[in-house]
């Protein structure tokens, strides 16, 4: 077996993930390389979910009975865990949402309805990048259409990085918000946050970072990022689906208006008007995803027990190995950075003229799960003149042997369509 420096003890870790033992298609061992779409869940998270429902289930922040108080403590305890995980200065800066898309839509709507100095209107500009996931494009397109604001973006270089050469023309005095991805879900690129934040701060623009592909894979420190908002989702980091996070700077959360109205987010309500609860509750209308928040808390405990720096080192070693092995496959072209430098563990590629759908189908027959298509980042495919890509993405339980299986599988694909 291939041994690489920095690898985690995957043999032990994999025992925590029941689904990784699955055998598919008449005896093929599952090789799960679709972690950028969603991660698998360890037993510890599954247990936390069922324990919550079996022992504590109640609605939160209302009722004085034992279960209601315990459920509230668990839900708010999960908020504490998230705050510590991202080094938030205050737990009140952590808003639970249903996913990263909702988090990003929430920011766009806060700004659309805000008063000065935050208000986005027809005299202002919004800046994104060409490598965003659709969830960090469409909410801003909607905001631009509704307010008349101008939407601008950073293009990409041929090697899959942001083209920041015209940064002073793109981020200007008119810019109200710059929203960009920390790690691209399709290219794997890790973006230079500091350069963008510095320019945004020069012109007084807010900064929103989509950390969906970062939070699961590397230490995330919202204070070090110096952003104003950071969004991510739970299900890509060993947590359940249905739980996302928006972190926002406290003074902004105090100033900005709520988006969804309902129970939980109010202070007092009369038939004429209402006053609102302080953040984060102001932004959490209705019964929240309670069990899912508890599950995310358990996922964070699990990740912390391994250590995010060790997970980063493991994935970096795997990525180095994967780009080297994939380079041996004839006709394979990596879309995105071709080295492991400033790169996450999601690797997109094309294989000659063979359509990614066909690549994915033949790999699946061998038990290898990859993602094919445009990965909710169609502008990237257009930029590089390709209809779609095949993407292999790794996580803490991925092994060099699985990369070997992928390379062998691709050989089989080439023979099949050759």
């Amino acid at each position: 077996m291939t041994q690489l420096p920095g690898l985690l003890d995957t043999e032990a870790l994999r025992k925590d993930f029941p689904v990784l033992d699955r055998v598919v298609h008449d005896g093929r061992k599952l090789v799960y390389l679709d972690n950028a779409a969603t991660s698998q869940k360890p037993r510890q998270v599954l247990d936390a979910l069922s324990e919550y429902y079996e022992r504590y289930n109640a609605n939160v922040h209302r009722g004085v009975h034992v279960l209601a108080e315990e459920a509230t403590a668990l839900y708010e305890g999960a908020r504490d865990k998230v705050a510590a995980f991202i080094n938030a200065p205050s737990r009140d800066e952590v808003i639970f949402t249903k996913n990263a898309s909702e988090s990003l839509n929430l920011v766009a709507n806060m700004l659309g309805w805000a008063d000065e100095p935050y208000r986005v209107d027809h005299e202002t500009e919004i800046v994104i990048t060409e490598m965003e996931h659709h969830s960090n494009i469409v909410p801003w397109q909607l905001l631009a259409q509704r307010t008349g604001a101008k939407l601008k973006w950073f293009g990409l270089t041929d090697d899959g990085r942001l083209d920041l050469s015209r940064i002073d023309e793109i981020i200007t005095e008119k810019t109200k918000i710059v929203s960009f991805v920390l790690v691209s879900n399709i290219l794997g690129t890790v973006n230079p946050v500091e350069a963008i934040v510095r320019r945004a701060q020069e012109v007084g623009a807010l900064v929103c970072v989509d950390a969906s592909q970062a939070a699961p894979h590397m230490p995330l420190d919202v204070q070090a990022l110096q952003a104003d908002f950071v969004a991510f989702t739970g299900h890509k980091m060993c947590g359940p689906t249905g739980i996302g996070v928006l972190w926002g700077r406290q003074e902004l959360l105090e100033d900005l208006p709520p988006f969804l109205g309902g129970g939980e987010m109010i202070e007092t309500v009369s038939m004429h008007s209402s006053t609102y609860a302080p953040a984060p509750h102001k932004f959490e209308a209705g019964t929240p995803p309670i069990a899912q928040a508890v599950g995310l808390g358990a996922a964070i405990d699990y990740l912390d027990s391994i250590g995010m720096d060790r997970i980063l080192a493991h994935e970096h070693a795997l990525t180095e190995y994967a780009v080297k092995r994939l380079a041996e496959v004839p006709d394979l072209r990596i879309i995105g950075p071709t080295t492991a430098e400033d790169r996450g563990a999601a690797i997109s590629f094309t294989l000659g003229d063979i359509h990614p759908h066909d690549v994915g189908q033949v790999l699946d027959e061998q038990g290898i799960a990859v993602r094919v298509g445009h990965h909710c980042a169609r502008p990237v495919c257009l930029r590089y003149g390709i209809p779609a890509t095949t993407r292999a993405s790794f996580y803490l339980y991925s092994t060099p042997a699985e990369i070997d299986a992928l390379v062998e599988g691709l050989e089989h694909v080439r023979n099949f369509f050759g």
Partner: protein, 155 residues
């Protein structure tokens, strides 16, 4: 191997040597996409009365979607509209069968090469690929005939 039931020789042949590919003159043009995977097709139909005189297309996509467009061209060009509609409906029924329909002789007579797609119907993610060009044809035909109706009414 199960994969062979999807990637029949006939399908791979059509994929490698597509029939009637390229855009030519038509009465109506449509552009259909499969948003989950990015497959796209631009398709034109040309009618001579109620006879299909041409179906031309250009697109990008997987072997299944491209082969399906090729089979469609081979099967429908020269047919009367009513017969073509019957073929389209039979193909749709087969593709929505989740692998439960084993094509019989009668179905084979109607579908010819298109019966090769029976295996694809077992793969829900790929059914849309096989149907992309057929839905585009149906849409283009409706537009072409609407246009012809409108012309008759104004004449």
């Amino acid at each position: 191997m199960k994969l062979d039931s999807m990637y029949q020789e006939v399908i791979l042949d059509h994929y490698k040597n597509p029939h009637g590919r390229g855009l030519r003159d038509g009465d109506a043009e449509v552009h259909h996409v499969n948003p989950t995977c990015g497959d796209e097709i631009t398709l034109r139909v040309k009618y001579d009365g109620t006879t299909i005189s041409d179906v031309s297309y250009e697109g990008q996509g997987c072997s299944i979607s491209q082969a399906s467009a090729s089979v469609l061209n081979e099967l429908l060009v020269g047919k009367e509209l009513a017969e073509a509609q019957k073929i389209q409906e039979t193909f749709l029924e087969l593709m929505q069968s989740k692998g439960k329909i084993e094509p019989d002789d009668a179905m084979e007579d109607v579908l010819e090469d298109a019966v090769a797609f029976a295996g694809v119907s077992k793969y829900p993610a790929r059914v849309k690929c096989a149907l992309l060009s057929w839905m585009a044809w149906k849409d283009a035909t409706a537009q072409a005939l609407d246009g012809a109706d409108a012309e008759r009414k104004t004449a």
